[in-house]
């Protein structure tokens, strides 16, 4: 059952081959067995999950089932879910029980999906290895000594280790796509504004976007149908007609113009990863796509721009964690200032503090124009690069990450090398475009270990259906997305 598609699981549920309670219990058993080591989940609540499963079974019995009714999924611990501990991977929110549901959580509840638990993540989504979580590292199911990527590392490991049928993630600079690449699964960051940010704990508001993480593009299309939609509680949510993201699945790719940005195949890309991506491009050629070389000249500026803008927004977004109304408060303090300083010094980890400091610095009087304003100007140039590129092609292909999964601790003391993990993904967030990573094969690490490689597919605004079909077509002629790590049976 753990390798079935969402579509297949739904048909098993509606034909009563299996009940949601049985399916949920199966996953809960796997979590109980594997999670103590993999550490993909921060919070599991068997009773809450089974209650949802029973309700789903009732809906199925009433003939009121939708494509996700009774399907057990995992929620990244960045989404507030009523009655669930919602930590965002931080000591600051170690005891925070959300009193309300995020827009995304409401959508899944309405669809009748079962929430298996809250997945581990880098603290406040700041990280590319899941090592900044207060609740411990997450193991990559393909090699337990390696990181799963981040920040949605818990969701990625949970999908890869079959600890859920699918999961949610959020992506500010690559936090869905990079862990999907490192853990061998499919992940999609939608066009900015398609998924509600209400109840999703903010890291960098102008970049954050929720999306699905699953085994296949078909599964992601089904997830997207549930996740998207206008939310009046989010002023950046877009008012658009509901789309069916499965509508294009199966359409031939003949005539599809695929662009390869030369900057994505330059220095810094691991040779093994490059080989896998080139092979995937060949596959697209065989499927009838026309390959064109394009240029995204400002790609190299995306990391510095991102590390001005995202920390600037984060430094302000994280000001509410002051120990006054909720969250961690120091046990002892002398006065108000001391309470602020101690509570925040104790509640936040090193990477979060680093970004608050950077953000505070770049917004300071005298530095604002040189950093924040300049970064906003370059952000527009980056978006223009893509606009020009999409005059020449329909989709852009390239690597998701410059390398395969690295060893835990390997980059922990080298933030810049860690930040370079997102070199191919960040520009997509800065432009607000949709981006996706799908499994495209394996490349050997230095120790000879064969590790998953993700192919990134970047589309124009609102072109998710076309991207999902392009991924689906590839997944019809390859089996990378069905591979399973050893030791998780």
């Amino acid at each position: 059952m753990i390798n079935h598609s969402l579509k297949h699981l739904a048909s098993m549920l509606t034909s009563k081959e299996v009940s949601s309670v049985e399916l949920t219990q199966e996953y809960l058993n796997r979590i109980a067995r594997l999670n103590p080591e993999i550490n993909a989940y921060i919070t599991v609540d068997t009773e809450l999950s089974l209650a949802q499963a029973r309700a789903a079974d009732q809906r199925i019995a009433n003939g009121d089932a939708g494509p996700l009714t009774g399907i057990p999924i995992a929620q990244k611990d960045i989404f507030c879910a009523k009655g669930w501990k919602t930590t965002c991977g931080s000591k600051m929110l170690e005891t925070f029980i959300a009193p309300y549901d995020a827009g995304i959580v409401e959508h899944f509840n309405a669809a009748g999906a079962v929430n298996l638990g809250k997945t581990n993540m880098d603290e406040f989504a700041m990280g590319s290895s899941n090592e900044t979580s207060y609740f411990g590292k997450v193991q990559n199911p393909w090699d337990r000594t390696r990181v799963p990527g981040g920040s949605s590392g818990g969701s990625a490991a949970a999908v890869a280790a079959r600890l859920c049928a699918a999961a949610t993630g959020t992506d500010t600079g690559g936090s869905i796509r990079q862990p999907a690449s490192l853990c061998g699964l499919s992940g999609l960051k939608p066009t900015y504004g398609l998924t509600s940010r209400y109840g999703m704990i903010a890291f960098a508001s102008s970049l954050d976007q929720a999306g699905p993480m699953a085994h296949s593009c078909e599964d992601m299309a089904i997830m997207m149908n549930a996740m998207t939609g206008f939310d009046q509680r989010d002023s950046t949510s877009l008012q658009r007609e509901k789309e069916d993201y499965t509508r294009d699945l199966g359409k031939p790719l003949a005539g599809l113009r695929v662009g390869l940005p030369k900057e994505y195949f330059a220095e810094g890309l691991d040779a093994g990863v490059a080989k896998v991506i080139e092979a995937a491009v060949d596959e697209y050629r065989k499927l009838g796509a026309e390959i064109v070389e394009i240029s995204l000249p400002n790609t190299m500026l995306s990391i510095p721009v991102y590390y001005v803008l995202a920390p600037a927004e984060a430094s302000s977004n994280l000001s509410r964690y002051d120990g006054v109304r909720f969250g961690h408060r120091a046990a002892e303090y002398d006065d108000l200032m001391d309470m602020y300083c101690k509570s925040r010094a104790e509640g936040f980890g090193a990477e979060v503090k680093r970004r608050i400091l950077i953000g505070t610095y770049v917004l300071s009087a005298g530095y604002y124009d040189a950093y924040y304003l300049k970064a906003q100007q370059i952000r527009r140039l980056i978006a223009e690069d893509f606009a020009k590129a999409f005059e020449q092609c329909d989709l852009i292909l390239g690597p998701t990450a410059p390398s395969t999964a690295f060893k835990a601790g390997e980059k922990a003391d080298d933030p810049v090398s860690m930040y370079l993990q997102d070199i191919y993904t960040i520009a997509v967030n800065l432009a607000g475009l949709p981006g996706m990573s799908i499994p495209a094969g394996f490349a050997p690490a230095a120790d000879g270990k064969e590790l998953p490689v993700g192919l990134q597919v970047i589309g124009n605004y609102f072109d998710e259906a076309r991207m999902l079909n392009a991924g689906h077509a590839y997944q019809q002629v390859t089996d990378w997305h069905t591979r399973m790590p050893e030791g998780i049976a």
Partner: protein, 478 residues
């Protein structure tokens, strides 16, 4: 002292009378139990987001139109970052570089002259909550009911040159925001709060002096006192060879003094940047037209119309448009009355105002409605009663004894205009006051007035005074 000039600019926080907060659906009603009007957005739980209340935007545009200001087609909400326990998000959302209302003007009257005060800008922002001290020993409480209440901050140029001008501006603004119905004007509850920037310079000097900002003045009397004290203090400091440091000061009503609360060096770096949770606010010409159509006639226009249409003096027209309530009362009275505007104006500014002052009431609570007053004015105009009797009828109406006609009827106050009846009374008075008649004939004009008085008294005030005059004159001449 006279060689110095004071320069004053005002920043006024006007609390908008919307139904809900500027970025959440919570009520903004005053006086609720602490934290009962604070939802998940107001207490800034993780994950919540602001959504702009369109009603607040409409209020801002109403104000902009009322002071003839530019309305920005695109304005931006920014975050003003600082830590304080009553500021739940750790930042205040406020328009910074691009406010919704740009340059405008407000004309004030000081003494007999008019002066135009330039308004620099008006921007939308949210209020903070309140710290509550002393509820339990060693602890402070936080009440977030007020957090997120919509404010319009109205900033002037440093155009005022005396405490009197500053107070005149503040009063005019206070009336205007109530007139256009964007603020309840309640200063005790903090709905209208002024920060006053004061500096002094030698007369003829072009450069401004260093200013100090007097914060949070919530009465016009305190404003006057605070500016006068602050001006004196600055002049004395400079004359004693001292320097003025830029500072924020508070006024203490008990001592009548101002005192610095923080200096410039301690000022925060607010790290303003555009709020990424809110889109830029777009206002189209069509939006403005819709709002303009709902705007009432403004006091300045109404004043001019009263002078033009009703032939009222500038003073009368000004007094009748000093507040929306008075103007509405006058207009309604005149409409039912249908007679001479000057008569209605005199009654509204005279007897009605006097009674209200005497009883400390506002015009909306006057027991004599415009319709009742108009009924009385009709009887004055058609000579049913004299002006003197009208005052008695008015008192009776004020006491709730019914309308003018009923009171006149019941009390038999109808004026006597029957010439024969008045002649009979006059004859009696002349017969009984032979001495006075003699005096009059001896050339003492005063005696005539006494005879009029006697006649009116004999008629119990009901005889038509004009007729009494005429008949007396005739009889004394004959």
């Amino acid at each position: 002292m006279s060689s110095w000039e004071v320069v004053i600019g005002l920043e006024t926080h006007v609390q908008l009378n919307t139904k809900s907060k500027i970025f959440s659906g919570s009520s903004i009603a005053f006086g609720a139990e602490p934290n009962t009007q604070a939802n998940v957005v107001d207490i800034a739980l993780p994950g919540v987001l602001p959504v702009l209340n369109k009603e607040a935007v409409q209020c801002a545009i109403r104000f902009g139109l009322a002071v003839n200001a530019e309305i920005a087609p695109r304005s931006v909400f920014a975050r003003k970052n600082y830590f304080y326990p009553d500021l739940p998000k750790g930042y205040q959302i406020s328009q910074y570089e691009l406010p919704v209302v740009g340059k405008g003007t407000l004309t004030i009257e000081v003494g007999d002259s008019e002066k135009i005060i330039n308004i620099t800008r008006a921007h939308l922002e949210e209020d903070a909550g309140k710290s509550v001290h002393g509820a339990s020993p060693g602890q402070s409480g936080i009440d977030l009911n007020r957090a997120g209440t919509p404010l319009l901050e109205i900033v002037t140029e440093p155009d005022m040159r005396s405490a009197a001008e500053a107070v005149a501006y503040a009063r005019k603004l206070h009336e205007l925001v109530q007139w256009i119905n964007i603020c309840d004007g309640n200063m005790q509850e903090g709905s209208f709060r002024c920060d006053v920037n004061v500096s002094v310079r030698r007369k003829g000097e072009e450069k401004f002096g260093t200013r100090r900002e007097i914060k949070n003045l919530n009465s016009f009397r305190f404003m006057q006192q605070a500016i006068e004290y602050e001006t004196r203090w600055q002049i004395e400091t400079l004359e004693d060879g001292g320097k003025i440091e830029q500072a924020t000061v508070l006024f203490n009503p008990d001592t009548g003094e101002t005192r610095a609360m923080r200096s410039k060096e301690e000022a925060n770096d607010y790290r303003y940047f555009p709020d990424p949770d809110l889109l830029p606010l777009a206002v189209s010409a069509a939006d403005i037209d819709v709002i303009r159509a709902t705007l009432p006639e403004l006091p300045s226009a109404m004043k001019a119309r009263f002078e033009r249409e009703h032939g009222l003096s500038t003073y009368d027209a000004g007094a009748l448009t000093a507040s929306r309530a008075i103007a509405d009362y006058f207009t309604a009275t005149l409409q039912v009355f249908g007679g001479e505007a000057k008569l209605a104006a005199n009654w509204v500014m005279g007897n009605v105002s006097a009674k209200l002052n005497e009883e400390g009431r506002v015009i909306a609570d006057a027991p004599v409605s415009p319709a009742l007053l108009a009924g009385l004015l009709k009887r004055i105009a058609d000579n049913t009663i004299s002006s003197k009797i009208a005052k008695d009828v008015f008192e009776a109406m004020w006491a709730g004894e019914g309308d003018a006609d009923a009171i006149i009827e019941r009390k038999g106050l109808k004026q006597v205009t029957d010439t024969g009846a008045i002649e009979a009374i006059v004859d009696e008075v002349l017969a009984a006051n032979a001495a006075m008649v003699e005096e009059f004939r001896a050339g003492k004009d005063k005696a005539f007035n006494a005879l009029v008085g006697q006649t009116m008294k004999a008629s119990k005030g009901k005889a038509n005074p004009a007729q009494v005059n005429e008949i007396l004159k005739r009889k004394l001449a004959g």
